[in-house]
């Protein structure tokens, strides 16, 4: 169970992060300003830190200097979208840079990626009879091993991570294909159909009319 430190001075956003990270199965500790975060970092160790940049007392860049020697990967979470700011954050040693406002699914995906990079994510995801091995990127059940194309695999992982959550078509499209959603495209539906067939998910991977899909 990965433990994530959230440092954000805005209470609503802090709450938002906490709620969603807990839902996604992470442990989560929150700090409202740089000082508090620094104090927490002295006492505890975390698997990942989500840092706002404009923080009272000690800003995000300075906190990065705290976390670096501790080997805690950092994702910056900020409203500063200028290229300079991103470059500064990334060259400073941050693992990723998420610009506010962000979609929750995207945030979770990026958190996952960083944790995986640091081998801190769980190597195995389970969904009912299916087991996903994140290392070898294989999907198996007691009876069979299913071959999935890379996109199908990513799609399945996304659904498993967001069980019970309605995923919007455009969101899914952005996350898996990393392009903007094209209104008439059938690509997504075709992938979903194949996924349903291969993994016998016909009853469980539901279409939500005009919105998207949900894995029950």
């Amino acid at each position: 169970m990965a433990h994530i430190l959230v440092v954000e001075d805005e209470r609503p956003i802090r709450e938002l992060l906490r709620l969603n990270l807990l839902d996604a199965g992470y442990e989560c500790t929150c700090a409202a300003d740089g000082k508090e975060a620094a104090a927490l970092l002295e006492e505890h160790t975390y698997d990942l830190a989500l840092l706002d940049i404009m923080l009272p007392y000690v800003n995000g860049y300075e906190l990065l200097e705290y976390t670096k020697p501790l080997g805690i990967p950092v994702i910056f979470l900020t409203a500063k979208a200028a290229v300079d700011d991103r470059v500064r954050g990334l060259t400073g040693g941050a693992e990723d840079y998420i610009v506010k406002p962000f979609a929750i699914a995207e945030l979770l995906a990026r958190v996952e990626v960083v944790l995986r990079r640091y081998n801190k994510a769980e190597g195995v995801l389970k969904y009912q009879e299916w087991t996903i091995d994140m290392e070898s990127r294989t999907v198996t059940s007691d009876k069979e091993t299913v071959h999935l194309t890379p996109k199908e695999y990513e799609l399945f992982v996304l659904f498993v991570r967001n069980q019970g959550v309605a995923l919007f078509r455009n969101r899914i499209f952005q996350m898996i294909w990393e392009t903007d959603y094209v209104e008439d495209t059938r690509t997504l539906d075709l992938h979903i159909q194949r996924l349903r067939k291969k993994l016998h998910l016909e009853d469980r991977l539901k279409t939500i009319y005009r919105i998207g899909y949900r894995l029950e």
Binding site: N20, A32, P101, A105
Partner: protein
Amino acid sequence: MKFRWKILISNLFLLAIAFSVSGFLLIQHSFERNRNREIDVALEENQFIQIALENELVYQIRRNEFDGLASLTEAAEAIAGNFSGSRSSFAVTDAARNIYYNGADYSEVRWELVESLSERGQKNYIVYRKDQTWYVETACSLNINNEFAFLFSRRDISTVFDDREQMLGFYALTASLVLIICSLINYLLALWLTMPIMHLNRTASVIASGSYFVRCVVRSDDEVGELGKTFNRMAEAVENHVNELIEEGRRKEDFVGNFTHEIKTPLTSIIGYADMIRSRNLPDETRILAANYIFNEGMRLETMSMKLFDLLLLNREEIELVPIRVPNLFEQIMESTEPMLSAKSITMEIDAKDVYILGEPDLLKTAFINMVDNSRKASQEGSKIILAAHQEEETVYLEVRDFGFGIPEEEIQKITEAFYMVDKSRSRESGGAGLGLALTDRILKKNGGTLSIESKLGEGTTMRVAFQAYHLEDRNDEAGEMDDIAELGEIEELGEIEELGEIEEMNEAKEIEETDDYIMEDIFGEEKL
């Protein structure tokens, strides 16, 4: 061409002209004097020969050897001996141009000299050149036995001309030498004179390349020194201007940065919570929490957009200034801010003299409410805020004093910038976006007021606004309208119109209440909910 070269060349030109003209005139003058002297000498010589010749003839007559004109030859030969070896020689002729005597190397007789001679004693001369030699030739007429004869004498005056040539040559040499020396000195002088200009030029180039802080060194009090001083003044102005531009740029950049931050922060919450609600079946509690966050953050955006809108509008709208009695203004402000102050148990005191200012009442109220709100945010529970007003000569000072945290000195300048917050997390908690004081500052400027801020950390802040004092007497003198209104007011108290007045008053009161509510909502959107 460089300026020093121009100075050098023009000076040299002038010098050369002066030297050559004066030198030439001098030499010419002395030459003429010498020549005239030689001519005089030649004339005297001619006279002398004439006398000698006549004496000789007289002598011949005495000895009865005189033989008319023919005797001239003998007589001339007799005196010629006296002239051998001198620079002169002579010839004797008669009127029919027969030559009776021709002295050594006297080859040519200038007949034109004697054409106008008729009587004895008359003389004529000519200066001419022959075979590189200058001569002065003199002629006079002789009357011998009623017959005319002419005496020509010639004198070599080449030395005079040679002297002139030599002097001219020598003078040209010396003048050239002197000119060369002069031009050297002149060049150095020009260099020395143009040095400050070159220094100025170098400074200007340095400034042009971006080092606006550089100044030139002024060493003299002359025009160049003046230019240097003016230049420095200009550089100063440019530097200030550039700094202002840089500061302005920084402010704009900050504004844009802060603006995006302030917009994106509530949007992040709104989008995030909305995303949660739309894509998941949330427990009731969480759903209400999420909706509440969306609502609050939406209100925050609304507050901010209203204030921004006010800020923008203020720049465009013309406002009408009316006389305001300051204690009345303060009372209205106290009424409006009472609820928000009591929530933090802050008390408010009014210490206002009976002074008047010109302004737009609603805007000024907004401005002062913002200032009080600012003080409230900086104050601890149970603290005190004082509204004070007094007049010093022609200036009325309105003050909002608090005893809160105070503002660090280096931040006072920035506090009226949009989105600036001294303590970001605290301001956020107390519901600000950093626009209140920016708005206040604009309003005050628009009303002709000047805001100054004094603050000591831990002791409190005084925000002082200076207005031009307004005198009631002015009103009486200037505007009869006011009196009319006052009279109307009096009439309203009587009879039928009284009711009308009351209704109006009520309406007015209601309006004020409404605007108050609006402002309160504006400021406490969050807390109220």
